[in-house]
Each structure stands twice: as C-alpha cells, then as structure tokens.
C-alpha cells in the first residue's frame, strides 16, 4: 500500500512520453498537410492575393481559376485522356493478370517459383529503362500518340501488380469452396470463374483502384508516347510549370482537380494501399 508513490511517478513519466508522441504526430501532420492546403487555398485566389510578401489568410475566394482550367486551358481533355488510359490499362491488366494469378495460386503448373521471380523482376524494371526502346517500337508500329500506346505502356507496371496482389488474395481463400464446386462437377474453370473470382472480388476491386491510381499518376511514358490529343493530366500540369511565367492560380486549380479523384479512390482503398505499394510484402 505504501509503495504506491513510485509507480505514480513512473506513470507521470509515461504520460509525458505519450504527450510527446502526440506532439510529434501533430507536427508531422502539419508538415504533410500544409503544402496541399496552401495550393488548395491558392486555387481560390486572384493573382494579387497570391503574390504578397506575407501569407494572406483573409481574401475573397474566386472560382475564376477553375473556370480558366476548364475554359482556355482545356483541362477536360486531359481528364478524359487520363480516364481512358487508366481504365484501359486497368481492364487489360485484370483480364490477363487475374487468370495468371489464379494459376500461380491454385493450379498445378510447372516453374511456379520461376514465374513468381519473373513477375517480381518486372516490378523492378524502371520506366526509364523501357521508354526509349518502347518509343522506337511503337513508332514502327504507328502506335505512338494513340491511346493504345499509353494503355500498353501502363500495363507494364499494372500487370505485375495485378498478378502479385491477386495471387495473395486467391491464396487467402479457403480452398474447400472450390473443391466443393469441383465435386459438384463444375470443372476447373468453373471453380475459378464461378467460385474463386466472385469470392476474391473485394480484392479485385482494391487492386483495380491501385492500378487506376498508378496509371493516373504516371508521367514518363505519358510524356514520351502521347501527342497533343492524348496527353494525360500529369503531362498537362507539367506544361504549366515548364513555361517561363507560371500561372499560379490556374495551375493550382488544375492540381486540385487532378488530386480530388485520387484522394477519393485512395481513401476507398487505403487498407490495401501499402500492400500494393510493397507488392504484397506488407499484408496490412
């Protein structure tokens, strides 16, 4: 009973430590969020409110910049292009990647380890090593400048992700359900198509979201393999920054327009985000 004071002191020290931890997280969140918020705020400012020597917190918000983004900057075209490329590449990667993943997870195939390593290696191949030969090849095939060029190029990173992610989702399914289907005479393909695929569909949705995000954000392939009509959002945004006099308000508004769909998707798939980014290395 009389020995209570000592743990009390210990607890006080522990409380101080926990408070310090909260402070660290708070500082980190400020550092993470302030740049995004600054650009968001700038996107509602007229130039005279942006170009000040001290940060201005009170100003009259305007939608002028957003009107400009969709008006003279023709940003809607970039958005349409990005959507087409992202959905095209994601669909292609799923169509080819899901069966491959299932075969790796469940079917008696030869060289399973070997395939797994090839897929892992293709995740490591950087776009900078592929873009030059791909540009030449696509030029010869008259694909450069088409949506197909970008869709195929983005499939180089999305297909390995689909295979690796879906393999782990298929492996996590209880095999008994597919066995039951086999017993009922469904056949191997029926077990895959009518049992495994519907059961793995939440994982498939998460994988699709990741592919869309990666494709939406990709820059190098889009820069090299597109033409004026097929440029995606990052290429459009980069052209604002490259010019000598930058339109701060306009480009900030463009950035916010480009970010919003990704934030929505990112939150929807946040549980699987780290898994996708680490290629299944962290299950999370």
């Amino acid at each position: 009973m009389t020995a209570i004071p000592q743990p009390k002191r210990k607890r006080a020290r522990r409380d101080a430590w926990v408070i310090a931890c909260y402070v660290v997280i708070a500082i980190f969140l400020v550092w993470v969020l302030v740049p995004v918020i600054t650009v968001a705020v700038n996107s509602f400012k007229v130039p005279s409110a942006i170009f000040t020597s001290t940060p201005q917190l009170s100003f009259t918000p305007t939608l002028e910049n957003y009107a400009k983004v969709f008006g003279e900057l023709n940003f809607a075209q970039y958005l349409v292009n990005s959507v087409l490329v992202a959905f095209g590449s994601t669909a292609l990667s799923l169509i080819f990647g899901v069966p491959f993943a299932y075969a790796l997870a469940r079917l008696p195939i030869r060289g399973r380890e070997w395939w797994a390593r090839i897929i892992l290696f293709s995740r490591m191949v950087p776009a900078v090593a592929l873009v030059v030969p791909m540009f030449v090849l696509f030029n010869q095939l008259h694909l450069t400048g088409t949506y197909w060029a970008l869709i195929l190029a983005h499939t180089t990173f999305n297909l390995p992700i689909v295979i690796w992610m879906m393999r782990s989702f298929f492996e996590e399914l209880p095999p008994e359900l597919e066995e039951a289907a086999l017993v009922d005479g469904a056949g191997r393909f029926g077990a895959f198509w009518r049992v495994a695929v519907p059961l793995a569909s939440p994982g498939m949705a998460a994988t699709a979201v990741l592919c869309i995000i990666f494709s939406w954000n990709e820059f190098l392939f889009a820069l090299v393999l597109s033409n004026q009509d097929t440029e995606t959002v990052p290429v459009g945004v980069s052209s604002f920054i490259g010019s000598v006099s930058i339109d701060w308000g306009g480009s900030s508004a463009a950035a916010i327009v480009a970010i919003i769909p990704i934030f929505i998707l990112g939150f929807a798939a946040q549980r699987f985000l780290v898994r996708g980014l680490t290629f299944g290395g962290v299950k999370g």
């Binding site: 926990v18 980190f28 993470v32 090849l137 990112g266 680490t278």
Partner: protein
C-alpha cells in the same frame, strides 16, 4: 493449406491444361511489353543511331557505346548525383519514418485518422507534388521563404535555382512525398510484434531504449529491408520531379541517370546511346534489387 489442396486429386490433367492456358496469354503480353523492349534495347545499344543525322544511317558499332558509357564524364556526374539523391533521401526517410512510426505506435486515440491523413502525399502524382513544392519553395512568394523571412533570412533562398541547394531541395520533395510510406510500413511491422514480448521485457525491467533496441528494431527488420528495397529502387529511377523542377540544372547539378537517359534519347536524339544507358540502368537495378531480394527471402518475405 494450399499444399493439401494440391496433393489431392486436383493434380488432374484438366487443371494442368487450364494452368498452362491461363499462364500462356499473359506471359506473351509480359514478354512483348517488358522483355521485348529490353532485348531490343540490348540489340540497338550495339548500333550508332543518331536520328538527327539522316545520311549516316544506323551502322553497327559493336561495343563503342559501352566504351563511351564508361568514359563519359556526364554519366559519372549523373551516377554520383543519383547516389547522393538515393542515399540522402532514403536515409532521412528511414530515420524520420522510424521516429514517426514509433510515435504513432504509442498513440491510443486518433491513430486511424492520423493513418489516413499521413498517406495523402504518396498518392499524389509526382508531377503535382513537384508543382506544390515549386510554389512552397518559390524564393519570393513561397510559404517556406515567407516563413524563413520571419526568422531573418531575407532576400529569398533560390532553392531550385542554385547548384548548391537544387539537389537537396529535390530530396526534400521526395522526403515529403515518401516518408509516409516508410511510416505506414514500419508501423505495420510494429503492430506485428506480439504483445507478450513487450510484456516480458517490461517484467524484466527493460527501459524504453532497451525495448527499442532489443525488441522493436529486430522485430521490424524485414519491414526495414522492404522499405530500403522499394525506396532505393524508386529513388534510383527518379525522373518526374527532376524533369519538372530543374531539368537537371543549374548546370548539371541535378542531372540524374534517368534524366540523362531521357535527354540523350529525346533531346539529343542519340537513340543508340540512350539504349546503352537503358541497359546500364537495367543491369544496375537487377544487381541492387537482387541483393535486397536475397536478404528478404532469407527473412521469408517474397517467398
């Protein structure tokens, strides 16, 4: 689980045939899209191919391009810049990420919210990140410069405009965008350490530092390796932010190997040499990732 499944009557011919079919078509796509261009770049790296020289054609030059690769001072400069960028960014991200993950681990309330807010930077396109930081670090109207001015640093620091600050500024952008990734992975690793281990250590009277050194760090060793693998590979290929923010300048102070390859191919139109540089990147990537993957496989990640 899968083992027992495989060992049953499912090693049937139908399964094998289906497996072959399911593998074949995507494998062809992989070969055409990834391994095709790689082989193509190896072949074309043996040719002199300057597309601005219409008359010279495309003569076979053997290993000339590789001789140039190893004697090109710009390659050396680009490799050194890239190494500086990789080591600086990844090192700081790892230390910072570890501190923040540890703090997050101690939180009881609001951890979920913090988690979702933390992941924001890493889902933003690098080009947009570049734009955001172009404005944050503007010498005149950027928030950072304005805050620095309050502390007496007047006149504005030319972050991207001076060869002294440009590369560190690019590293700052990388650190902003990817420290969250490190935090989330290391935090996931910490959550995977069993409560009993902490309990046992506390009963033995181990202090906070002792627990950190003997339980937390060994416990998250696979995650640390994983972070090193992905961050090293992704910083090594750095292109987007450099291209948008500095184009390798001022001078060649921020020229990285990825940017040099791009410029060789698409600014100087020397496709033969650009292919050689592509092969160089590929080989170095294979060596570095092979090294990490071996370490990871020993810890039973990526089996």
């Amino acid at each position: 689980m899968t083992m027992s499944y495989r060992s049953r009557a499912t090693w049937d011919r139908g399964g094998r045939r289906l497996g072959r079919g399911m593998i074949a078509v995507p494998a062809i796509l992989l070969v055409v899209l990834i391994f095709g261009p790689l082989v193509y770049s190896i072949v074309l790296s043996l040719y002199k191919w300057q597309i601005t020289d219409i008359n010279s054609g495309k003569p076979f030059v053997g290993l000339d391009n590789y001789v140039r690769l190893f004697t090109d001072p710009q390659v050396l400069n680009a490799v050194l810049n890239t190494i500086e960028y990789v080591v600086g960014s990844v090192g700081i991200e790892l230390v910072l990420g570890f501190i923040i993950a540890s703090a997050l681990f101690e939180m009881t309330k609001g951890r979920k919210l913090a988690n979702s807010l933390i992941l924001l930077p890493m889902i933003i396109a690098p080009v947009i990140t570049a734009l955001i930081w172009r404005y944050m670090l503007d010498p005149q109207f950027g928030l950072v410069s304005q805050v620095l001015a309050l502390f007496g640093v007047k006149g504005g620091v030319p972050f991207f405009g001076s060869s002294q600050f440009a590369l560190p500024s690019l590293m700052l952008v990388d650190i902003w965008q990817w420290t969250p990734f490190v935090v989330l992975i290391l935090h996931a690793g910490m959550l995977g350490i069993s409560e009993e281990q902490f309990e046992a250590a506390r009963i033995d009277g181990a202090g906070r530092w002792r627990i950190l050194r003997s339980i937390v760090i060994p416990g998250i060793a696979p995650q640390i390796l994983l972070v090193l693998l992905f961050r090293t590979m992704d910083t090594y290929r750095i292109f987007d932010t450099v291209f948008v923010l500095t184009r390798g300048g001022p001078g060649t102070s921020t020229e990285t190997i990825g940017l040099y390859t791009y410029q060789t191919g698409f600014s100087f139109f020397n496709l033969g040499y650009a292919m050689t540089l592509s092969v160089f990147i590929l080989v170095t990537v294979a060596i570095i990732s092979g090294f990490y993957l071996r370490l990871l496989r020993r810890r039973e990640v990526f089996q």
